[in-house]
Symmetry: D2
């Protein structure tokens, strides 16, 4: 932490800052410049609130953090990549994992049909929403536990693990009973009590980036989960909000290599929510792969025109199968092949 003093700061101002740092067990180290004094604070910062506190003191121009605010999520804490095992599917091991399925679970038949179609096309994990965050209270908000049951049926039918969103700390227990991965949605990235709660489970957590979250805030949200003891966090870039209205959000693909540099956690991309248009899903999925994503989350629907949510961004079964073929080629080119499906994985391990 560096404390930059104002040009007209007095000696007393400087002494005040040094005393305040000492209170926090930090040693102040003066670095006199020609224009202004800078104080380096040496020691372990246990209180993250010391920075704003000093920023308010008399004669202080600015306080600059020089350490990253997160710990467990950082590469400095753990240099090697985290690899997460989800029912035999390895996420973060250099292969590309594809999670696919409908935005909302609409019926058992619908869920199972979609799950089988995406499995046949090569997906490794099935997605489907039972609890749906909707901007309007009058929109379809999901089937709830009934939906979870359909998801479990789809798991049985396909042999693939499943991921679904949990929106409320009250539902963590029931969702964890059915799901292999707990998804935290973009609107809940800073729902800290929910983060605490999923941190206490032993299920992998997929944490979507907040619509307007900086990468630092996102890693700090992951830190909430990890600080409670759950090390299996997957990050998911799903688009940020900008002034551009041609796309639903702006999928920030540069966030992927930036996160890879700062953190050891796996990171996947959601081109469906990230763009909001089905015809942008394939190009942005290919680009996500080329930029180094560990996986993709893609919305697929048997009949997108009749989807109860997010129809315009869902792929048909046919579109999805084409996408998987296209990804296989890009994967080879970038040395980042599609992950094997769990059965294959077992067969290979068994062999």
């Amino acid at each position: 932490m560096l404390v930059v003093m104002k040009q007209d700061a007095t000696d007393d101002d400087v002494k005040g800052v040094l005393a305040r740092l000492k209170d926090a067990n930090l040693e102040g180290h003066l670095s006199p410049g020609e224009e202004r004094v800078v104080i380096g604070a040496v020691g372990v910062i246990n209180d993250p609130d010391i920075r704003p506190a000093v920023g308010r003191m008399s004669g202080v121009e600015e306080v600059i953090a020089i350490s990253r605010p997160y710990k467990l999520t950082g590469r400095e804490f753990q240099p090697e990549d985290t690899v997460i095992d989800v029912g035999g599917v390895k996420i973060g091991d250099g292969t590309l994992t594809v999670m696919a399925g409908p935005c909302s679970i609409e019926s058992e038949e619908h869920m199972v049909a979609t799950a089988c179609a995406v499995r046949d096309a090569g997906a490794q994990i099935i997605r489907g929403g039972a609890f749906k965050p909707r901007t309007s209270p009058y929109s379809f908000r999901g089937l709830g536990e009934e939906g979870l049951q359909h998801l479990a049926t789809a798991r049985e039918a396909t042999g693939l693990p499943v991921i679904t969103e949990v929106m409320s700390e009250r539902d963590v227990e029931v969702v964890a009973r059915y799901a292999d991965v707990l998804q935290i949605g973009t609107r809940n990235m800073q729902n800290f009590t929910l983060l605490d709660e999923v941190g206490l489970t032993r299920k992998p957590v997929m944490l979507k980036r907040g619509l307007t979250a900086t990468i630092d805030e996102w890693l700090l949200a992951a830190e909430y989960v990890m600080a409670k003891g759950n090390r299996d966090v997957i990050l998911c870039e799903r688009g940020i909000r900008t002034f551009e209205t041609a796309t639903r959000n702006t999928l920030d693909l540069s966030a992927i290599p930036v996160v890879k540099r700062l953190s050891h956690l796996p990171i996947i991309s959601d081109p469906s929510h990230g763009t909001g248009h089905w015809y942008l899903v394939e190009p942005m999925a290919r680009a996500s792969m080329a930029v180094g994503a560990d996986g993709l989350m893609v919305e697929v629907h048997p009949s997108p025109d009749h989807a109860l949510s997010d129809g315009p961004q869902s792929l048909t079964f046919e579109n999805f199968a084409e996408l998987m073929e296209s990804l296989a080629k890009v994967g080879e080119a970038v040395g980042h092949p599609l992950a094997p499906q769990p059965a294959t994985a077992l067969a290979m391990a068994g062999g």
Copy 2:
């Protein structure tokens, strides 16, 4: 709802849309243009998901909403202003209500001293945080129920009603036991299960705008609360996230007259969080008043250098007293005087 067809849409495309609208009990009305066909959908839209569904159909270029997506919060539903009574303080009646106090409650002594100071300076409602949303899990997260007790003590000591944040649906019951107004923070604006829960209480709810929420999304979040039966919603503009880094957020004062035009709900301004710098609080508070806000939320701390949170944006007691004097003058100029304190209010009513 208007359905704009593509230039090369076929007759079958148009028929498909008309059939789909009929399924949803809407009558399609053709408006042939020279360049492309436009279909107006006449009837009551019961399913908000019909719009994206049609948007996905063959031959459709775009679907345009021409009704506002919210109902109960809209001026079309209720033309006259909602006035909310909080322990004798009227919010939304043309006066300016000032809510003030520390960001976090740190101790009973600290809470009571601050509450008395802001009451003496003229504030009508006391604020103080017991449950604190913090970006880092290692920051001070509030005293919890102990903090609520200190807040209750401050209420007794001052005779003023109190407002505090509730972050979790599990805490709604306990917070509602102590507080006169339940605050929903910016990060929880779209925590829909929490919105549902506070909608079931009979306490007024103050709903902060999400960091990146459009005004429509904000009113829809208020709609969640109202749809559960709680009509007493106060909106609070607290700054949006933009590219500018000189301020913590960009306080969007134009949102205040826009909301006044669209909705009957009262709206207040939070220049402390909105700017992040104590020296910007007074000018932006004056501006909030001039633009027509129904109230202000201001952070005050006996010794901002030692605050456990948000020190740099908190006013000292002295700064706050000066602010109140300055506001009184602006209030007169714009015909929007400071609200009386509850005791005075009672005296006036009693007289």
Copy 3:
């Protein structure tokens, strides 16, 4: 300038940085931390490009500027406020100057009628556009020099100074011949050759903030004008681009006190472009005044429905007269009265 080294930086990395600083006549001052080394660079930074250059060096984590990048525009260079005299109207002296008129000049009659109406309502400076930047090449782009002649006629008719935009370095000479203040529009804030050119004139320049410019970039754009010898720069906040679509732009009123703190230059507000809706002009004009703006720029049109540009945000003569009355009251309350009109100013001086 502070150079923060990586945790794993080697001694050679540190030596490399010290040598590079010495090349640039800066003395490196080591401040060893427990986690990483920080090097303070002491001396006068003549080369603004040294910062990115060092940022690229081996072992460097980050380079942090601790001096403001601008000089002539900064308060540290000139502590007292700049007051600019425009044909007898003082801008920046603690009064509020109102510049008003049509967006585009449409005819002599139209220009003179509007100028007289705004003068009668109390404006001090007449605005009118002869060269119009338009998003589409097919929109009305202004009358050019003919428009400037109508503006000159309006000046004669009213006795008030005039302001108009210059879009091209080629037109600077002709615009300077007619106008009392040269306006640089938001799209040209970083048209550096144009800034150089108006910096060589001896006419006051009003520099609008770029749609997406940070305050630092804006002050650096002003620095371009001042560096060429023209000290008379007026800044104009006119709204930034954000994700909100309810308003044309988001008028960033907090920029006004921030600029006042950083710079000695006067700053005015443009609520017409800042909001895009005539019914938001009055509340945001009042707020601009309350926050400390030195002036306002307001679009007025005799018949906004028929305006050739920006009709929806223009006030009628009647609306404008009401606005001026309202501003007079707020001005008294905040100790920032409306500026006298030039004739009055002369009379007062003469008296």
Copy 4:
């Protein structure tokens, strides 16, 4: 164009709108809804300002454009892709063109050495800046015409065409004398007089997206150039400004397939400016290719630590050669191979 009336609009309001449309040679077509009247305007809209004008009228809620505002740049005007020939290099023909070189031209030796290195690695076009837009007036602003001469020397030395930025309408003639492609920088995307001027030349123009420009605004800026008769416009996505500060800008890769859908013009990507960090250039270049870009612009410098501008985002010769190898593989995978170099092109044509 659709005119949505307010719920309480009167018959006279409707008649007023119909009359106004008739003045503009448009036929109003009433589409009565249950909630409000909608008027469709049928006919050719010659005056783009009619839309805001009607928006201001009594009883009008909103005016909605249903035609795209641009013409010549649109796919509806020209369905097939535009292919531009730059000294034998075809841009937009399904291959990937790489433009590479230093941000600023620093000396003849430096320019030629860099040009040869990028040619040897496989680039098709040489870039180098002689006129540099710089945020600060005190930064290095380029060598001017001397730089153009060095660029011409590099062209001779390599046999490759060259691209360089023109910042001022005054310099268009001299830059066009030396360069094969005229680059318009991000800050000048809406410098309309400059757009007019390059539209009058017969050199291809590369138009960078403005920092905060929507895709519609960008295509309208291209329309300025095309409306003057110059059909050879290349678009360049180079990052937009968002709240994220980990990268210099946010490279909006989804803009590439969106533009491809809306326009026939070729579009390239600039991962150097788009990210601001050399280590993000390769992943984002690969992603740009995977998403369908027609080309890349990449900054390369023999010794990035000593670059006079943009060092932190420049690749070394070695990094660049690796990038080209990586791109060749991705190109094959996505069926979008690297373009041949001009000599090869000639040889192939000759063969």
